[in-house]
């Protein structure tokens, strides 16, 4: 059964070109030209991954992301932000824990499928870890903290080199999160290296 993707972008040429390439790669594609359309589509279809633009009117990508995470039916779907706008530190702080990957436009559409597959795999692996934590009776709050921290560390590791000038080159910002995740991994008995860096195209994690 082919994997399904939902593309959300208010710019038709982007939906057009991305769809063509991803269809060629064997994905089933749904498109939405805004946040509202995305949410209404999710009422009938649950894709394997959502590619979400940020700068949209009136419902922007961050708002849409929170709506996806608020609904138990869509909460676990991996979301990949695809945007021209570098995230601010505040955005990473507020939304980073909900984001599975972050792609910067412009990017080579031929490489999207690779990123998409990696993000789906990483998300599945994360949810397997989550399931085993739940099975071991780990509190819901601790599980949430783990998911949020893991996503944030992946995101900052991926974007840090490129956007450190926007984040005031705050090395501690990354370091603190990494050491918190390491502590949490140890505490919960999670095999650490399997988590971080999986969203990075140049990452060492085997696909």
């Amino acid at each position: 059964m082919p994997q399904t993707l939902l593309l959300v972008d208010d710019d038709p040429p982007i939906l057009d070109t991305f769809s063509r390439f991803l269809e060629k790669e064997g994905f089933t594609i749904y498109t939405a030209d805004g946040g509202e359309k995305c949410i209404s589509l999710l009422g009938t279809t649950l894709p394997d991954l959502i590619l979400l633009d940020i700068m949209m009117e009136p419902m922007d990508g961050w708002e849409t992301l929170l709506a996806i995470r608020d609904d138990p039916k869509t909460r676990d779907i991996p979301v990949m932000m695809v945007t021209a706008k570098p995230p601010t530190r505040d955005e990473i702080r507020i939304y980073g824990g909900e984001v599975d990957d972050y792609l910067m436009k412009p990017l080579d559409p031929r490489k999207i499928s690779e990123s998409v597959r990696r993000a789906i795999d990483a998300s599945e692996e994360m949810h397997r870890t989550v399931a085993s934590l739940r099975a071991r009776g780990v509190e819901t709050d601790r599980v949430r903290e783990y998911v949020s921290l893991l996503r944030r560390v992946r995101l900052t590791q991926k974007l840090f080199g490129r956007f450190r000038h926007i984040w005031n080159a705050d090395i501690h910002f990354l370091g603190q999160q990494e050491s918190r995740l390491a502590r949490l991994n140890e505490e919960l008995g999670i095999d650490a290296p399997s988590g971080a860096g999986s969203g990075d195209p140049g990452g060492k994690r085997p696909v």
């Binding site: 710019d11 040429p13 982007i14 057009d16 070109t17 700068m55 021209a84 436009k105 412009p106």
Partner: protein, 344 residues
Amino acid sequence: MSDASIFIVEDELIVADDIRLTLENLGYTVAGIAQTGETAVRQVPEHIPDLVLMDIQLAGTMDGIETAEWIRTNLSVPVIFLTAHADDMNLERAKVTEPYGYILKPYDERELHSVIEMALYKHRTEKKAREDAWTIRTLANAIPDAILLLDLEQRIIALNESMAHRLGDNPAALLGTDIGSHIPGGFPVRIREHLEEAVRLCRTVQYEEKEDDRWFEVVLSPLPEPGCTTSRIMIQYHDITDIRIIEQRIHEQGIAQIDRNMEQFQILNDQIRNPLQAIMGYVSLDCEESKSRIVEQVMAIDNLVTRLDHGWVESEKVRRFLYRHYHHGETDASDAQTDKPREA
């Protein structure tokens, strides 16, 4: 030798004439001679002499002392009394009129000369001091700032009208009083601390203070004597409310415009990268249909750059506004060099 003009009040004509000759000998001009107080009161104001020689004993209803008192009250002309004998009672009365000297008859020419010169000198000095005080007072009152001079016991030594108005009384009533007695709740501890700091460090202390809806810059300047012992402190209240209002407006309008610009930059950032993304996609598709799509996207980017030009124009307005306020009409030197935006 002085060429001052002197008016003589003497009821004995022979004596008066003798005095006139003596004065003329000494180089003075005799402005006139009156035989009675009443005549003197009429004629002295017409001549305004530099000095009046006044016999105490005068025929008529006004004696010399009454006449001198009238002159003192109405004109700024020094009076020297001439008297035939040192009459203690008259001298006591004469003192009240603040005479510039006494000459006993029969007078000695040299004595007359020195007493007149002393009186003229004293009068000139006093007049100068009065004028200086007037000038200083006028200047102090012309300044819109409220100014006050305190001694170390916080008593008011001097103040201008603006400060008197702040303290709610007239300047004369405030002089010599404790400043704390004019402020509801006493002299504020905060100001007292600043004052002590200024005296201790022998240095001007400056801070800003809000009072009702006005802002003031308060300057506390110790006025040191040689060797830096301070006995007086000047307090100056400078109203900076208007400057504050202008600064606030510049701040608000500047920030608002920058906020708008930043928002625009973010939007443009997204909007420029979107067509670039589309171009990248169409180039990768490499089919005939893609080429016309690429041209469309290039035109879309061109339209966005035109909007950047509008952003340039808006920013230019802010810059002009700031220049007007901070450089008072000076034109921006970069005006001539700055590239104008392309025609849209």
